[in-house]
């Protein structure tokens, strides 16, 4: 039976791994390759690695780092950061990466989605939507450059446009909930999930296994991603890489996923 995906998301900054809060105050949490090795041993469903320097500093993706990450991964790997052209995407794909995530490049030139998809397949093109709720409104706006640049684009309309352009997956990243560990904004997920049917991963706010559970209980097959939750332990945010063991994951799925979705699958 198909299962929802639980995905650690790692941020690379100044060659180290960091975790941000509301996209700010990067706290050093370790070495990227070492973290990937640990997550590998923990048999994570998928891993997402985002270089948060590349776009803001106008750098090329760090191909050496990407190749080293891919070499370690025995699970699907999604890389994002600094990808602007189909050539760069294809080069990264050849290093052994399954999914290529883009954000600012897509806002500047929506056609890039189709161009990349025609070379590596739709399923490998992930569009990251960094969003923030508009002031005095129930709508959400797309941001780029680590949450610093407002684009004026409406999140729902953008999601629909990305699906039509050939994106294979959307990652919905909630800026105000980043690092807060107080749960996901389900009204945001509701809006976007209702408007598109391509695979989706949500991120921003996970602080407990129950937070992940609430999303899975409601949406069934969806990706739930987290940063802080998988790298910090305790209220003092001590760095400790963690992830549910296969047995814990099964227990988790048995309480949040199977009761709601198993019967629907076997009808």
């Amino acid at each position: 039976m198909l299962q929802p995906r639980i995905i650690p998301c790692l941020l690379v900054h100044n060659k180290g791994l960091v975790k941000t809060t509301k996209f700010k105050d990067p706290k050093y949490v370790g070495d990227p390759i070492n973290a990937v090795k640990i997550f590998n041993e923990k048999e994570v469903d998928e891993l997402m690695v985002v270089d948060i320097d590349a776009t803001v500093k106008g750098l090329e993706p760090n191909y050496f780092l990407i190749e080293s990450l891919a070499l370690e991964c025995r699970m699907p790997l999604c890389y994002g950061g600094g990808i602007k052209t189909a050539e760069q995407a294809q080069r990264i794909f050849r290093l052994g990466v399954e999914k290529i995530a883009m954000s600012s490049a897509v806002v500047q030139n929506p056609h890039i989605v189709g161009e990349v998809a025609s070379r590596v397949g739709n399923q490998s093109v992930v569009v990251v939507m960094d969003v923030r709720k508009k002031f005095l409104s129930n709508n959400y706006e797309i941001y780029t450059h680590n949450g610093k640049k407002a684009t004026g684009l409406d999140a729902v309309k953008f999601a629909v446009q990305m699906e039509a352009s050939g994106a294979g997956e959307l990652v919905l990243n909630d800026i105000e909930n980043d690092g807060m560990m107080k749960g996901f904004d389900l009204s945001l997920i509701d809006k976007v999930r209702a408007s598109v049917s391509i695979p989706m991963t949500v991120m921003g706010g996970a602080g407990s296994i129950e937070d992940l559970g609430k999303v899975i209980e409601k949406y069934g097959i969806i990706g739930v991603a987290a940063g802080s939750f998988f790298v910090f332990k305790g209220k003092f945010r001590a760095v400790l890489i963690n992830y549910p063991t296969p047995q814990e994951k099964l227990t988790f799925l048995n309480s949040y996923f199977m009761p709601n979705w198993e019967s629907k699958q076997t009808n």
């Binding site: 039976m1 198909l2 299962q3 929802p4 995906r5 590998n40 048999e43 469903d45 891919a70 070499l71 991964c73 025995r74 699970m75 699907p76 050849r94 290093l95 052994g96 399954e98 397949g121 399923q123 490998s124 294979g168 999930r193 049917s197 391509i198 695979p199 989706m200 949406y219 069934g220 097959i221 969806i222 990706g223 979705w261 629907k264 699958q265 076997t266 009808n267």
Partner: protein, 204 residues
């Protein structure tokens, strides 16, 4: 030597990484000379059926591949679209498949899938291998593997069905006829189960 057919498609690097870690010699073949020297063959694949068949037909390796597989009977495994290429044809396109295993490739019936995202079938799903199949000797029932596809192989002979998975329907997640194997999931991206399977393919 273990040989991966490189006709421009599939995550070849990931397969090479697994075999390097296992200390099993492997070559990535781009010419028929290399294919002729193969003792085991992996046919990877992603993307659309027609594109994959056209790329393989253009690669200059198809004749050598058919000689090694159909005349010399060395073990071959098609992965993902590589499995679908073993079929006679596909609903996804108009090109003929390799036809090494009887059957056709069909699209999943979306009306049977209860999720908002129906296709592609993407993520970790469980498999039920048939007992007594050497390739799956060390793989337990309901082991998890990573899948990514929208079409599946509807093979003709039930005796050639060696593993099933559920997604709306129960379908063939692996097939086998003599020395020819096809697996729909991605062992190179399926942690220890995948490594075990790739290791055991090398020892067939």
């Amino acid at each position: 030597m273990m040989t991966i057919i490189d006709y421009g498609l599939g995550n070849i690097k990931a397969l090479v990484n697994v075999y390097n870690r296992l200390n099993i010699d492997i070559q990535v073949a781009t010419s028929s000379t290399q294919v002729i020297s193969a003792t085991k063959i992996i046919l990877p694949g992603v993307g659309s059926f027609d594109f994959a068949m056209n790329q393989l037909n253009k690669s200059g390796m198809r004749d050598a591949l058919e000689k090694r597989v159909l005349v010399d009977h060395i073990p071959v495994v098609g992965i993902c679209v590589g499995m679908q290429m073993l079929a006679e044809d596909s609903e996804e396109g108009v090109e003929k498949g390799l036809g090494w295993i009887k059957g056709s490739v069909r699209k999943f019936d979306e009306s049977l899938i209860p999720f908002k995202t129906r296709l592609p079938h993407m993520g970790w799903n469980t498999i039920k291998p048939r007992s007594g199949v050497k390739l799956f000797d060390r793989i337990e029932q309901d082991s998890r593997f990573y899948f990514l596809h929208s079409y599946y192989f509807e093979n003709q002979d039930p005796g050639e069905l060696i593993c099933t998975t559920e997604y709306g329907i129960t379908y063939a997640s692996a097939v086998n006829r003599a020395n020819v194997y096809g697996i729909q999931f991605h062992p190179e991206k399926s942690h220890f189960n995948g490594v075990r399977l790739l290791h055991d393919f090398a020892n067939l």
